[in-house]
């Protein structure tokens, strides 16, 4: 009998080991897979921006986009990851209620010289988590990248991209996309899919830069009316947008926390980054409905293929903050509203004299705010974090969160670009802009045997 019990105990121990290893490996694979999917976002932005550029600026736009991604990787490693863990309670580097924040925690989890920031047989999570967040940061830089095409200098742009992607959005995420974040614990801020922390921050950062950068030559006439400066390849832009949609599945997948790991919130199911329960089934319902609503809403009011396809992204962004909570037909309606208001917002921005070449502020900044507020309007009353007596989702909390995200983007984008402008390093020379950045900066031609490198914009 004793021998049988001993054998049974040994078998149970062996099974537990197998289960632990298996589950750890599955979690690691889950986050690993999100990363190439998110790289697809960048392939999409690359196609999108190059298609939206005139043929004389195609390669310059592409290089700018690729380099933003490239510089985000080491800088997020150097300090971005540390900032996410250090600042949730504010600039005091304090420890939040779940004790996964503050100076000591950041030094343990995000110290670039620390052992968790490299291969370790005892750690199968740090690399894939860091990688997922790095890709989130690179997404913010790509958002800004499109708005400033055809006239921004390369190195100042890279500096702006690093500040946005390795610091500004990270601050917003520490405060509003972390269970210890003060916006969450004190105001019940809820932003499952980062509508505020990624899209609002990046969109308003882009706006701050655009104010100082100025419009492309030929965009506006003396009387303030705007000229259309069409990109040289709309099909490339549309396919690029669809690739971004594919990549966003990876982005949203990485927003969920895998269960039953040492670092998991739950042993039985997926949770949000705040520790609140959700299912991938819920995300699937609402991502597809929001995507569809955005396209249909944009098509109904605009008919422009560019805005229609942008509606896909706009619809998802509109629903992102509450993807874990919506009744799916409501997600369709929220996405539809986002898609439908996009063209009007873009026209307003243009009337203000802002040349946002790809509508980055409209799609990400404005609809990011709509997405955050939509949770306050339609999804109030949910506990924001696990436990009892916690803050609940509410409209004021979402409004405060939206304002904070706007400031996290607008202030650094405006101030830094203003400094660059005063130093005379923000914008390319006008002669280069008129001749084309491919032959003056890269220097190379995108279509050496084909398309003319000249532009037909009236003012030129």
């Amino acid at each position: 009998m004793e021998e049988q019990l001993a054998a049974l105990a040994a078998e149970v121990a062996a099974l537990k080991t197998v289960a632990t290893v298996g589950n750890t490996t599955v979690a690691e694979i889950y986050y690993y897979v999100t990363i190439p999917l998110m790289v697809l976002i960048h392939a999409g932005f690359l196609a999108y921006e190059m298609g939206a550029s005139r043929s004389k600026n195609v390669l310059a736009s592409g290089i700018k986009n690729i380099l933003a991604f490239a510089f985000l990787v080491p800088t997020f490693y150097f300090f971005g990851w540390w900032c996410y863990w250090a600042f949730p309670t504010g600039f005091d580097l304090g420890v939040g209620p779940f004790e996964i924040s503050g100076l000591d925690y950041a030094n343990a989890a995000g110290n670039p010289a620390g052992e968790v920031m490299g291969p370790s047989l005892a750690d199968s999570a740090s690399g894939v988590f860091w990688g997922a967040f790095t890709l989130f940061g690179a997404t913010t830089a790509s958002i800004m990248s499109g708005s400033v095409i055809e006239r921004i200098r390369l190195v100042p742009f890279i500096i702006l991209a690093v500040v946005l992607g390795s610091f500004a959005w990270v601050l917003g995420a520490a405060w509003g996309w972390h269970a210890d974040g003060w916006l969450v614990t004190k105001f019940g801020y809820h932003d499952f899919g980062a509508a505020g922390v990624v899209h609002t921050v990046a969109g308003f950062f882009a706006l701050g830069v655009l104010i100082n950068l100025g419009p492309r030559v030929g965009k506006f006439n003396a009387d303030g009316s705007a000229n259309d400066l069409p990109g040289h390849n709309m099909p490339m832009t549309l396919v690029g947008l669809m690739m971004i949609i594919v990549g966003f599945w990876g982005f949203l997948m990485a927003c969920a926390i895998f269960p039953n790991e040492g670092w998991s919130w739950s042993t039985s199911g997926f949770t949000s980054i705040y520790g609140t329960p959700l299912t991938l089934s819920a995300l699937t319902f609402n991502i597809l409905m929001g995507f569809a609503g955005g396209i249909i809403g944009a098509w109904m009011v605009s008919r422009d293929p560019f805005w229609m396809m942008s509606g896909a992204l706009g619809g998802i962004i509109s629903c992102a903050a509450g993807l874990d909570l919506w009744w799916p037909p409501l997600a369709f309606a929220v996405g539809f509203i986002g898609g439908a208001i996009m063209p009007s917002i873009a026209r307003f921005v243009e009337r203000m004299g802002i040349d946002d070449a790809v509508g980055a502020f409209t799609v990400h900044g404005a609809l990011g705010v709509w997405g955050v507020l939509a949770v306050g309007i339609f999804a109030a009353g949910y506990p924001a974090i696990p436990g009892e007596g916690v803050a609940m989702t509410n409209f004021m909390g979402q409004l405060i969160g939206a304002v904070v995200m706007v400031l996290c983007g607008l202030v650094p984008g405006y101030v830094l670009s203003l400094i660059m402008k005063s130093m005379g390093v923000l914008r390319v020379p006008e002669s280069a802009e008129l001749a084309g950045l491919d032959i003056t900066k890269v220097p190379s031609k995108a279509y050496p045997e084909g398309m003319s490198g000249g532009s037909t914009a009236p003012a030129e």
């Binding site: 809403g297 909570l325 919506w326 009744w327 309606a333 539809f336 339609f378 009353g381 949910y382």
Partner: protein, 56 residues
């Protein structure tokens, strides 16, 4: 619309938890259907006008 439970905690919540569970489903279902119908009607009208205007 909003949270269908008012216990103030996720503890003990099982089953459906989406916004308006048990109250607003039909309304939003009808809204979504209506939006699709309206979009198609507006789109059809524009398409016809576009053909008329552009010699189609």
């Amino acid at each position: 619309m909003g949270s269908p439970f008012d216990t103030g905690t996720w503890d003990g919540v099982t089953g459906a938890y989406y916004t308006g569970y048990g109250s607003g489903e039909m309304m939003w279902l009808l809204v979504a259907i209506a939006l699709c119908v309206v979009a198609c009607w507006v789109g059809h009208r524009h398409e016809s006008e576009s053909f008329d205007k552009n010699g189609g």
